[in-house]
Amino acid sequence: MKILVLMKEIIDTECRIRLDSNHNIDEEDIKYIFNPSDEHALEEALRIKETVGGEVIIYAIARQASTPSFKYLLAKGADRVFIIPSNESNPVLMSQMIGNAVYNESGDFDLILAGVMGIDRNNGQIPGRLSIILDIPLVTMVEKIDLVKDRMICYREAETQLEMIEVRLPAVITVQRGINKLRYPTANSLIKNNESKIIYLSNQLSITHEKANIKYAYPKTRPPVKLFDGQEPDNAVRELIKALIQDKIL
């Protein structure tokens, strides 16, 4: 089975994030991490490969500087990484880049796995867009999958229920954290020289696309909290409710 995994490097929200003098995101002193649910997509791909055999290939749009972190993913057991070097953050253009790359390099894939959403910009658009570009079905928010011949049984979280979906492959499936526990690479696999398995692709796009005019700002600062001392709980609770009524919240 040929499984493609979409992995995105994102700015770690624990960093201090600043705007520069042009009101753009200041990339200095910024730490990057892999988008958490994407790591679970990779883990799931590795598990499927261990059961039925095949290949796990990572596709990522990333900075050139990110090679070391991708070596870590190879050490976990991925077979190859295709990097599209770009700092593009527009979902229309990103999906087209990935779509082209997949079409050129892995046209015979069986499954694409990705995380539910990038928690940097909360877009969650790439998997859905890719399902149209590649003309394959999409299943989102999946918590458990079972492979049955050329179909995948997906347990997914819907509005207020858990659904069991049967989807024909190839398909795009997005997974959440609960689906599995991440593995750590062994020390041996970490020191292996596997740089040749990281392949940089060109990111030439032939489409013209009018993007949004984007501006950034800091959020408004919040008013200070009104605190009540809970040493005497009944008292604190009465004071709190009095304040809520005064402020017309109740």
């Binding site: 958490p36 999906s95 909360n122 079905p137 979906i165 609770v237 409710i241 919240i249």
Partner: protein, 327 residues
Amino acid sequence: MDKSILVIVEHDDGRLKISSKEILSFSSEIAVKTGMKVFAAVYGSAINHEVFEEIGKCGVGEIYYGENHLFLMPNVEILLPFLAEVITECRPQFVFTGNTPIGKDLLPPMAQIFSSEMVSDVIQINTIHDSLQFIKTIFGGKIIEMNGYKKQRVFATIRPNAIGIRNNMAVIPSIKVIKSQVNPPINYILKEVVKKNQSRKPLYEAEIIVCGGRGIKRSEDFFLLEELAGVLGASLGYTRAVIDAGFKPRSLQIGQTGKTVSPKIIITCGISGAIQFVAGISTAQHIIAINKDQRATIFKTAHYGIIGDLYQVVPALTDEFKRILNK
């Protein structure tokens, strides 16, 4: 393409969903300001006429109605052809729906069919001259992103409970039934609904939420929060610490990697206020925190706080609410 807005509507049990009311009434207000037209797209099977009337009450009169028994179990594969047909027919510049489970699934492929931009999880929309600017938060709420558009088509999912319902002049709905061919799904088949969740409102549309964190020590102590939620008619949510401990299902996790919520009131109990948690509640209108540590970072986000032991404060709060709500 015309200067107009199409709202994809959600309804449940013959009632319009709150998030749809917000988007419809808001769009109708923008329309008055900018001279745009507003359309609604509804799908279902033999739906209650009240849904159309409620759309009219929000100020939107032109309704495209897709009628098919397959729409009772909607999914992307079934809905895309119908919605693409409506968009092709009414040629809107803007297409809105809620940032709800179905909205999040539907809009990215929809936007891609029209090679268009999309803004996810919008919390505010501004009118600038005769166009619109979409506001959202990024990087865990640390930065605000403003997306401005001139002429191109834009799809947007709008966070429920963020923009509010406006009172508009009611109009009489006129319904255009779209009889598009809907094929039974072949690629994506719902085999079974495995488990229905409890009766509480889903977190994303809850008006009041009681939320618990690691301050609750044992599984059997969660009844304290359940009692408080019961008195307030609130939904329950938890931090990742609680989920990872295996106490509650992952679908109830609030935060950056869980659900984003926007209730009128949220009461956090025994929660430290990590950035990844706070990212999920940044548009809650009133945050009340209970924590025994006065230096807990949650007090930087909260509007009200009680410094104290939740094992004493929560029951006291439950009793006091019971008393003033006469329950």
